[in-house]
Amino acid sequence: MSTSVFTRLHLRDRIRDRDTAVYSILLILALVFPMASIYATDGTALVSQATRAGTFVLLAIGLNVVVGFAGLLDLGYAAFYAIGAYSYALFASTQLVTLGFGEIVPQLFYNFDQWTGGINAVGGIDQPTLPAWIQGPWSGDGPFQVVRNFNFGGDPVAFYVLICILIAAAIILVNNLYRSRLGRAWMAIREDEVAAAAMGINTVTTKLLAFGIGASFSGFAGAFYGANVSLVSPDSFLFIVSITVLVMVVLGGMGNISGVIIGALVLYYVVYYLIPGLPENVRSLANSIGLSSETTRSLADATQHLNYIIYGGILVAMMLLRPQGLLPSRVREQELKHAAVQEEEAAVEMEHAT
């Protein structure tokens, strides 16, 4: 008995260690990335890309609440992303961007407060004052000149900083939710709905809360997207977006926030950077090897036509190699292992019996 408690404590420590490591690496990367990329490429295109990747991270964190915590399947996730972007576009088309954000975001957070009293730890995100405290010591002509004066009109770095702050806030929020009474209720439903209902959990309300909170993140990300791109069209919110975000969550490791972030970043890189850039890379590689221009062109064309196959192949291969995701939730991993061992033992026993 005492050993099991001990191993569990030990396990919790290990989870915390790994998460700390992942978050530290992510934090350092997030800080270094804009400076390094601006220094290296002399432009902010890469920072804009990173901002867009950040939007997907936010989406994935939200969907993780639905899919990873509560074990539900949500294939209409992009709809809320669209609603967020559109309501932002409608509210803010004539106002200052920051004000528009102030219009939308407090509403979302107001809803959060209404739903879950246990997450007051994130009271620091007081949106209406966000513009004021963003213009902290690093703006102006100080030593951190990279971030000049947070002009949301055209400065990609401003949006980059904002999405980083939003992601950090989302991580804290979701972590607290995970450890709250509601989070435990979600996990209970995920593992066994009947047992959860028998323990007095209102399964309908709890599931609705998972959908609602997940959708809030999506709408939130949509509002950010609308502000960032300043052009919203239905094409940006097709079914394929829901699928992509779902793949990000499953690929990263359902239920584990740090894993989901890694999954979102990796898949964003693959879908929007690696695969579209592949023909160009093949061309330059073929050139450097010294193939004729004819072969080079045909090779590049062939690669372009292989886009779908490569993406599909990557998805299948990733899932076959790591069905539990890149960084699975340690707790769930242990549970799965435990179940597998039990099943094996049962099978062995059955064989003995026959």
Partner: protein
């Protein structure tokens, strides 16, 4: 009668009254649209059966199924190219080609689907539930990629080899093609029903869908049964692809994504896991789509189809005919 049931009947009654009004005002147009909806619905029914069978047996939304359907049309058009078919009229060669190619395409698609199951789904049978869903999405992209590589992004012509005979009865136009589509689909669904209800393998499938562990204890080879399910689902999808090609004479590589989604909707509509439900759901979705195309406007069709789906699921969560598998 409970409130949800009441709502469901009110919804149905309103739709029927509105349609009946149209039928009385313009009977010719109504019947014409009805025939078109019936043909479209027959194809959706064939595809929906594959979705529902796979979902019933391993609880997987097989996203690749719509692409198997499209690939059927691609393969059919390729094999038909080997015959000296004439697109001008119906010749003996056309008949022979049709009789040979139709089952051949079905078998090829069955084989491909079994291979997909073996590679992408079977290794993940004990993995988290969403892992095979992701490989299904991956296989869907893969198949789309194969078709893209094969013929590029443009639409592909499918040989027009059916007789062009057509008659006009009381202002309603219908051709041999319409009859062909509905009759072939009806025959296939009837064969499936016989197979599921009368054969030993069909019984094994039903048992596996109900309780996999218990079925295994009864000596049923689970892997073989699941492979057979995929095989039969793909037979129907291949037939659907052939029929689609023969009827519309044009296919494109992303056809499976859109029509697969609608067929899946049809399966959910009829009660996912329920085989007669999928056939009925396909027919009804086809009819709804056709009526909404002509009476409301084609740009609203998707909204109407999915809106009705949501309506039905709100009032009757298990779909029209209910789930075969009882709740735990």
């Amino acid at each position: 009668m409970s409130l949800p049931d009441f709502g469901f009947y009110v919804l149905c009654a309103t739709a029927i009254v509105l349609l009946a009004a149209q039928a009385v005002i313009h009977p010719g147009e109504f019947v014409q649209v009805f025939i078109f909806g019936l043909t479209q619905g027959s194809i959706y029914a064939l595809v929906a059966l594959g979705y529902t069978m796979v979902y019933g047996i391993i609880e997987l939304i097989n996203f690749a199924h719509g692409d198997v359907f499209t690939l059927g049309a691609y393969v059919g058009s390729a094999i038909l190219g080997f015959f000296a078919i004439s697109e001008g009229g119906f010749t003996t060669v056309n008949l022979i080609a049709l009789l040979l190619v139709f089952p051949a395409v079905m078998l090829v698609m069955g084989g491909i689907n079994v291979a997909i199951e073996r590679v992408a789904y079977r290794p993940l049978r004990n993995a988290p539930r969403l892992a095979p869903l992701i490989t299904a999405i991956g296989m869907s992209f893969f198949l789309e990629g194969v078709m893209f590589l094969w013929h590029g992004p443009a639409t592909v012509h499918f040989p027009d080899i059916l007789p062009k005979a057509a008659t006009t009865v009381a202002g309603v136009f219908f051709g041999f093609k319409d009859v062909f589509v509905v009759v072939v689909a009806a025959i296939l669904v009837a064969l499936l029903a016989i197979f599921i209800n009368r054969t030993k393998l069909g019984k094994a499938m039903r048992a596996t869908a109900q309780d996999r562990d218990a079925a295994q204890l009864m000596g049923i080879d689970i892997n073989r049964t699941i492979a057979a399910t995929f095989f039969i689902g793909a037979l129907l999808a291949g037939a659907g692809g052939m029929i689609w090609g023969l009827y519309y004479n044009t296919v494109y590589y992303q056809l499976g994504f859109r029509s697969g989604l609608i067929a899946f909707t049809a399966a959910v509509f009829g009660g996912i896991g329920n085989i007669p439900g999928a056939a009925l759901g396909g027919l009804i979705i086809g009819l709804i789509a056709a009526f909404s195309d002509s009476y409301i406007g084609s740009k609203w069709t998707q909204v109407v189809v999915f809106g009705i789906l949501i309506g039905v699921l709100v009032f009757r969560p298990t779909g029209l005919l209910g789930m075969r598998v009882p709740e735990k």
